[in-house]
């Protein structure tokens, strides 16, 4: 009896060890499953798509939401079939690693506030004012700069409490990239990255952390992903865009930003959609970029991954919208498919996607 117990323990330990080893060194080899890793922003829609895709085609997708930085590291190390990042890589960086990237889905970042007497969407801000608030120059809600943009709102004379993300995040990248584009002072003092040195405010972990702190702190301002602001009915801010028009966040304004970008001429499709042209464009919009190898070691895996993304472009729009993501515009999808045909080749030099 005791022997059986000991033996079973040994077997258990050995199998644990084996799985641990296989996880760290090789990609999961189970059948046709596609493996991907990266952006946490991409995770909800990726898992929804994967679920439906499995039901209709039978092949599954294993996506680990470990963060964009982790996704980039893993695809470079070739441990996954594709990586996903909120921040596009530059053409040089892509070429160096033998990768190409393409946008898979679009989302937006929304400033949210907690101000008594201000209804959701009542407050309007422009980029420069937003930057001055987050850099700590504008300290009170009844500051002249905010009043000028909101002549009708009753702004309280209380301190502004700034809330930002504490973890490195694509959301922070889009937000700081936008502020850098519209404000020189922000660009020189803080800059744009997935984590920055915040001049003021408190950091909260994840979208849920920022939302939580904003909700319980009077006079606070933070930024969250659109889906998060909408599902939690948070008091959002309207933004004045590059064309000088004040726009509401939403699928239409995100799509307008995506359509205004010059995808065809951007080297390596490296497009950041912040501060986009167009009267209806939401200024803090961004795409999730999928990274794949141009000459994969396992062409069969990548072929099935491309099949999956092809399927999401054709069939995934409704599910994306249901989760408050924006599907890619048709014109961009055509460009992506062309890029697959031109760039991704198997060992014999034949395109993987036809």
């Amino acid at each position: 009896m005791r022997f059986i117990k000991a033996a079973s323990l040994c077997v258990l330990a050995a199998s644990l060890l084996a799985t641990a080893c296989s996880k760290s060194s090789t990609p999961p080899a189970a059948g046709e499953d596609i493996s991907g890793a990266g952006s946490t922003f991409f995770y909800p829609i990726a898992s929804k798509w994967a679920d439906t895709y499995k039901k209709t085609t039978g092949s599954g997708l294993n996506y680990q939401s470990i963060g964009s930085g982790g996704g980039i590291k893993q695809i470079k190390a070739k441990t996954v079939t594709f990586g996903a990042s909120d921040k596009p890589l530059s053409l040089d960086e892509l070429n160096e690693a033998g990768l190409i990237q393409f946008p898979a889905v679009i989302g937006g970042v929304i400033p949210v506030v907690n101000l008594e007497g201000i209804t959701p969407g009542q407050l309007a801000l422009d980029g420069k004012t937003l930057a001055s608030i987050f850099v700590g120059d504008i300290k009170k809600w009844d500051d002249a700069a905010i009043k000028a943009l909101n002549p009708d709102a009753k702004l309280p004379a209380i301190d502004i409490a700034i809330v930002h993300r504490s973890d490195g995040s694509g959301t922070t990248f889009l937000f700081t990239d936008y502020l850098s584009k519209v404000d020189e002072n922000w660009k020189s003092k803080v800059g744009a990255n997935s984590a920055v040195e915040w001049p003021a405010g408190i950091g909260a972990k994840g979208n849920e952390g920022v939302a939580g702190v904003v909700k319980q702190t009077a006079g606070s301002i933070g930024y969250v992903e659109y889906a998060y602001a909408k599902q939690n009915a948070m008091s959002h801010v309207r933004m004045s865009n590059k064309a000088g028009k004040v726009v509401e966040p939403g699928i239409e304004s995100f799509q307008s930003a995506a359509a205004s970008a010059d995808w065809a001429n951007a080297p390596g499709m490296s497009v950041v959609l912040t501060n986009a042209e167009g009267d209806a464009s939401w200024p803090i919009t961004g795409a999730v970029f999928v990274l794949v190898h141009k000459q994969p070691e396992k062409p069969a895996n990548l072929a099935s991954a491309l099949k999956f993304f092809d399927w999401t472009f054709t069939n995934g729009a409704a599910e994306a919208k249901a989760l408050d993501y924006v599907p890619m515009p048709e014109a961009v999808i055509a460009l992506v498919k062309q890029s697959w045909k031109d760039n991704i080749k198997d060992a014999a030099g034949q395109p993987l996607y036809r």
Binding site: G67, G203, A204, K205, G212, Q216, T217
Partner: protein, 328 residues
């Protein structure tokens, strides 16, 4: 006939003894090898961790030099990193946690061993054990959604107003009441270390021979005198051990602190202001640390935490050594 039988039985008894002995020696040898292997594993693991930390942090230390320890800047955009703010936050939150946690823990332990009616004892002990079993993420969520708003609305405004204008203390409790910050993190940590210190100290207090305490009471000592003159001197090694166990937990705690400390890489004179700790910084930023220097700086933070823990242990050892010498 009789003789033959007895000889045969003796022989068989002997053979049984021999095989049993052989089995025992074999078992003993296996035990010896097995336990030694286990002990060596610990050393190998520790060495592996140290080597990995040194290798990983080499880039950061060679780039920034000793300035890494004394710089407050933590700028991922310009890739300038300094560990001063997280080191400061780690030490300050642990000090707050200990300042609140030690008196309460010792109070509970003394009450349980000296004064508590037996019927009440069990429920308090169970409550402490349950407190130890709560996962740290629960403490974090509770801290963010329950404790922080409470402190923000009812405690911090009062404290800020009370100390405003007082030299030193005024600066220590200054600033807008955010609810979350270094002080809140310290409170959460004090609750988290409480069960560790309490259960260890209670156990060692129970090892005091009743005859010692009874003699003291017989001489007319008060309970206070018995605790300070008999129980604590008798158990100081164990008490310090318990405190160090709690301190170790406070220094390394990650999840709960991340939720309530405000995660700002800044050093502020006020303990109500947001700050950060070493482990919170690593947990927050490691996933998105793309560049080699950024990851290396985070690993260097890990190495520093290791060093701080080591120093704390060394101080504890030294204190015990001094106490032993003083006692003669």
């Amino acid at each position: 006939m009789n003789q033959v039988a007895s000889v045969a039985s003796r022989a068989s008894a002997q053979s049984i003894d021999v095989s049993a002995m052989r089995r025992h020696t074999l078992w003993d040898a296996a035990l010896r090898i097995g336990t030694r292997a286990a002990a060596i594993t610990v050393l190998l693991l520790l060495a592996g961790v140290i080597v990995t930390l040194f290798k990983g942090s080499w880039l950061a230390f060679s780039t920034f030099g000793p300035g890494f320890l004394s710089t407050e800047t933590w700028n991922p955009v310009k890739e300038e990193f300094g560990a001063l703010a997280p080191i400061y936050g780690t030490i300050v939150t642990s000090i707050i946690a200990m300042a609140i946690g030690i008196p309460i823990s010792l109070g509970i332990a003394i009450f349980l061993t000296e004064l508590c009616p037996p019927s009440f004892k069990r429920s308090i002990s169970t409550a402490i054990e349950l407190l130890a079993g709560i996962p740290s993420i629960i403490y974090g969520i509770w801290g963010l959604f329950v404790l922080a708003p409470f402190l923000q609305a009812h405690v911090q405004p009062v404290v800020i107003a009370a100390f405003a204008g007082v030299p030193f203390l005024g600066a220590m409790f200054a600033g807008p009441p955010y609810g979350i910050g270094v002080f809140t993190a310290g409170i959460i940590l004090s609750i988290m270390v409480l069960p560790y210190i309490t259960s260890v100290t209670r156990d060692v207090f129970e090892t005091v021979p009743p005859v010692l305490k009874e003699s003291a009471y017989g001489l007319g000592c008060t309970t206070w005198e018995v605790v300070t003159k008999v129980v604590l001197p008798f158990t100081r090694t164990g008490v310090i051990g318990g405190v160090m166990l709690g301190l170790g937990r406070a220094l390394g705690e990650t999840m709960a602190v991340t939720f309530v400390i405000g995660n700002a890489h800044r050093i502020s004179g006020s303990i109500l202001a947001p700050g950060t700790t070493i482990s919170a910084s690593i947990a927050n930023e490691f996933t998105e640390a793309e560049t080699a220097l950024y990851s290396s700086s985070l690993i260097a933070l890990g190495l520093l935490l290791f060093v701080i823990t080591f120093i704390v242990l060394a101080i504890a050892r030294f204190m015990l050594y001094r106490l032993k010498q003083k006692a003669g």
